[in-house]
């Protein structure tokens, strides 16, 4: 059997913000570049980003600069970050945002014609460049149009199954299948950049689309790279909770940045009761003080609704648990009583539309019912900050699939800027690697054959399980046992149950043919979903403290010892069902001058 084969210099898996930005960089250097995406071009999860991209442009508050942004990012990440990534991100984000305008982006403007910036949680100054509440769409369309104008090859609706090495262990390509026909394809590549996004689909309530199955995380692990911080998962405080069919759907933090507040069933602005000591000095103590801040950041301190996302999500969880929740198990987000209908429709048009159409709620008049939803994984492939290189020669990773940049908790708005800063760096890193010359030339065909055999196995069973049943049970189990608040007994149970899921996945029976068969596609997603779930559960069990997006009921405080390392996972065997080893990986030491910036803030 011969499969269609394509050769490229740089192959990019994933066509969201990071993948597209990487493609532009590599293409500008004159290399042969292709993008592979599971969906159509322009549909990646980046379109769902709403509020904006953080960059210390200083257009609204001239006091802002990269040092404040760096400090905010490290504080938000509870100091578990790769400091060098946070530093490069803060320094380079402004230039990356400005360059988008050369490619056609149209951001909202200040009165003097500069890019307008919006307030978000954890950012000291108004810092998010935005277009209403559809900034992700603007980013992906701008990059997509640039990539297309450069004549880049794009393989749409193509699912990569596994990365392939040469005999010396370098990355040499990958094996994939074309969804419309079900035919297998092989790609030879000197360098591969993973830009596959997140993994929220292993949970029941998530803002992620079907694509968020952690393919890149899993493929990197199987290929020999390490995954770090996998236990650090962001539950975004404001997801829709009703109707059930849209539970988990994102409600932008921009609602709070623009004046929206959280209330419990008694009508109280409860966030004032949940200000952690590290944020007390800069957070308002009364509603009067908080309300002055929106118009003038020097007139009062920040409202507690704009604490980092982990803090707000835990507070909402606690209110619901204490019996002060809304009828469908959330709390209320109110902007209708605080801002004019005209303001809300102009600043938050897609939120207005989303609630009106899907929930029958007019947010200019009524409160929204919201609750935490699995939104983002801070953990990911361990990479070098400068080049986005992994420990496997020829393999790079950028965007949500990469780990380290955000530490234990990501600030809102730092994701879109992460994509363009490290997407570019991954493109540069791949080009440098190729120019250095020690690249792979031949693919280990045994790896290709093995991946194809694995993908076809579910057709050959006489009888077996429906992949949708396994997916549903996995989502319920991860939601229940590895959710926002965790405890040892549940995590140990989850780890044991994941072994049972592994056996179930081996027993999948797929019905129908290979052409555009969603059941088969899900069967090929499940191995990655299980690999990611295992790393999350293992990490969550070993990190016996609470930090950022990892909260332990049995260890409710942060522990300084755990603040000195990441938990790093590696695969023993490289198959999806191979055992996973977890080890402590010390944090990079922070240079004195940067440490001083963090000390100042304390």
């Amino acid at each position: 059997m011969t499969n269609a084969h394509h050769d490229y210099d740089v192959l990019i898996i994933g066509a969201g913000g990071a993948g597209l930005r990487a493609a532009i960089e590599a293409k500008q250097k004159g290399l042969r570049v292709a993008l592979i995406t599971k969906s159509l071009l322009g549909k990646a999860h980046t379109v769902m980003a709403e509020g904006g991209m953080a960059a210390a442009l200083g257009n609204v508050y001239a006091e802002d600069n990269w040092m404040v942004h760096f400090r905010d990012t490290m504080r938000g990440g509870k100091y578990l970050n790769n400091y060098r990534m946070a530093e490069l991100h803060a320094k380079e984000a402004p230039q990356r945002v400005l360059e988008l305008e050369q490619w056609g982006a149209l951001f909202d403007r200040t009165k003097d014609g500069k890019i307008l910036q919006r307030d978000f949680g954890g950012h000291k100054y108004a810092r998010l460049a935005h277009v209403g509440d559809r900034t992700g769409l603007e980013l992906i369309r701008t990059l997509q149009q640039k990539v297309v104008s450069m004549g880049t090859d794009v393989f749409m609706e193509c699912k990569v199954l596994k990365l392939v090495h040469d005999t010396e262990g370098r990355i040499a390509g990958c094996v994939a299948y074309d969804r419309p026909t079900g035919e297998f394809l092989t790609f030879g590549a000197k360098a591969i950049i993973l830009a596959t996004g997140g993994s929220g689909k292993s949970w029941k309530f998530t803002s992620n689309s079907w694509e968020g199955t952690g393919d890149g995380h899993a493929m990197a692990l199987w290929a020999g790279a390490e995954l770090i911080d996998m236990e650090c998962i962001q539950f975004h405080p404001t997801g829709m909770v009703w109707p059930l069919s849209v539970r988990g759907l994102l409600v932008t933090e921009g609602v709070r940045g623009d004046g929206g507040v959280l209330r419990n069933s008694l009508g109280e602005r409860f966030m004032f009761n949940y200000v952690a000591p590290m944020f007390r000095a800069e957070t308002a103590e009364s509603e009067e003080e908080a309300d002055k801040w929106y118009d003038d950041h020097t007139a009062g301190r920040r409202p507690p609704e704009l604490l980092p996302r982990d803090e707000v999500a835990r507070a909402i969880n606690a209110e619901v648990k204490a019996g002060r929740g809304s009828p469908h198990g959330g709390v209320y987000l109110d902007i209708g009583s605080r801002r004019s209908a005209e303001f809300i429709r102009r600043r938050l048009p897609s939120m207005y539309h989303q609630f009106m159409e899907l929930a029958g709620v007019d947010i200019t008049k009524e409160s929204m019912e919201i609750g935490p939803t699995n939104h983002y994984i801070m953990g990911g492939v361990k990479v070098d900050a400068e080049t986005a290189a992994t420990s496997v020669p020829g393999l790079f990773a950028a965007g949500e699939v990469a780990g380290g940049m955000h530490g234990a908790n990501r600030l809102g708005g730092n994701s879109l800027s992460d994509l363009i800063v490290f997407g570019r760096r991954a493109g540069m890193g791949a080009v440098e690697y190729i120019e250095a010359g020690a690249v792979a030339h031949t693919m280990n065909m045994a790896e290709v054959e093995e991946a194809i055999a694995g993908a076809l196995a579910p057709f050959e069973k006489e009888d077996g399980e429906n992949p949708y049943d396994i997916q549903r049970d996995l989502q319920e189990m991860m939601q229940a046992n590895v959710g926002i608040i965790r405890t040892e007994s549940e995590l140990v149970d989850a780890i044991a149950q994941l072994d049972v899921f592994t056996e179930r996945v081996k027993n999948i029976k797929v019905k129908g043919g290979r052409a555009y068969n969603p059941g088969w596609n899900l069967a090929t997603d499940l191995p990655a979903m299980l690999t990611v779930s295992k790393c999350v559960a293992l990490g969550a069990n070993l990190r016996k403290e609470s930090r950022g997006g990892h909260t332990r009921e049995d260890f409710p405080k942060a522990d300084d010892h755990f603040g000195t390392f990441n938990l790093a996972h590696s695969s023993d065997g490289g198959n999806w069902d191979s055992p996973i080893t977890t080890a402590e990986s010390p944090l990079l030491p922070i240079p004195a001058e940067l440490k001083a910036l963090l000390e100042e803030a304390k």
Binding site: G42, L98, E101, K114, S245, V246, L249, P518
Partner: protein, 259 residues
């Protein structure tokens, strides 16, 4: 919770037929929820596209009771009682079931002459809200391609696909033509290669746009005035020369240093 029947078209390029599925419908559910329930139970190989399930990505366009709609934004309780018919978009070739080959649109995207801005000054361009707002309306487009699906120029005449870009790309051209930084001139291209003249402004595209973009009034008609008329009318031709100057001077203003 009630039971409802969906008539879903199933098949591929070689042909197909409707299949009836009776499934449960819960409060607040949209058509896509029911399609997903059918996939998870009776028909795991039922092909449909979707991504965000929030009306933001434009993947799940199909024809519901004969009208192009996003499946994720069409609430079951707002459809008339009785069976609901779901068919793939008619204008594009079938791949399988509800999935069509929309590559026509990506080919049209490759032909778009890119934005041509002046070099960026230190600290970025200057543009004003009132100048970016016109383009922002068109950049709300989620590329669901329902305007393309409903446009009779290509829905009923396959041959026209060779030299007709369609409403999605007319708003793209309008956006570029109105972009404060653009200095490129696409008017001949829009008339000759994109086939703007074929559009006879029946507004079908505007009616189906899930983003409420005023495709006909705000994009196609101004674009026609700028392009088609200018070609035939010497007075408009003169106006074109003048407007072209205006376009260049707007772009020049965006690179002025801050006052």
């Amino acid at each position: 919770m009630t039971d409802v029947t969906l008539r879903v078209w199933r098949g591929d390029a070689s042909g197909g037929d409707f299949e009836n599925y009776t499934t449960t419908q819960n409060e607040g559910e949209v058509v896509l929820d029911l399609i997903h329930r059918i996939q998870a139970t009776e028909a795991p190989d039922l092909a449909c596209r979707w991504n965000c399930k929030a009306g933001k990505c434009g993947s799940c366009a199909a024809e519901i009771n004969g009208k192009p709609r996003l499946m994720c934004m069409t609430r079951m309780d707002q459809l008339p009682e009785g069976p609901v018919t779901v068919t793939p978009m008619k204008t594009f070739p079938i791949i399988r079931d509800l999935v069509t080959d929309v590559s026509f649109n990506y080919r049209m995207a490759e032909k778009v002459p890119a934005l041509l801005p002046p070099p960026m000054p230190e600290g970025g361009y200057r543009m004003f809200q009132e100048d970016v707002e016109r383009g922002q309306e068109f950049r709300k487009c989620i590329e669901c391609f329902m305007c393309q699906d409903v446009c009779h120029v290509i829905r009923d005449h396959e041959d026209n696909k060779l030299n007709y870009a369609g409403p999605r790309f007319f708003i793209r051209y309008a956006e570029l033509e109105m972009h404060p930084l653009d200095t490129n001139d696409r008017r001949d291209f829009i008339r000759e290669d994109a086939g703007l003249g074929y559009c006879n402004i029946t507004k079908c595209c505007t009616e189906v746009c899930p983003e409420g973009i005023h495709i006909t009034d705000n994009a196609i008609i101004p674009l026609k005035e700028r392009v088609v008329d200018a070609h035939y009318d010497p007075v408009a031709w003169l106006g074109r020369k003048i407007r072209r100057k205006t376009k260049v001077s707007t772009a020049a203003a965006a690179v002025q240093p801050a006052p």
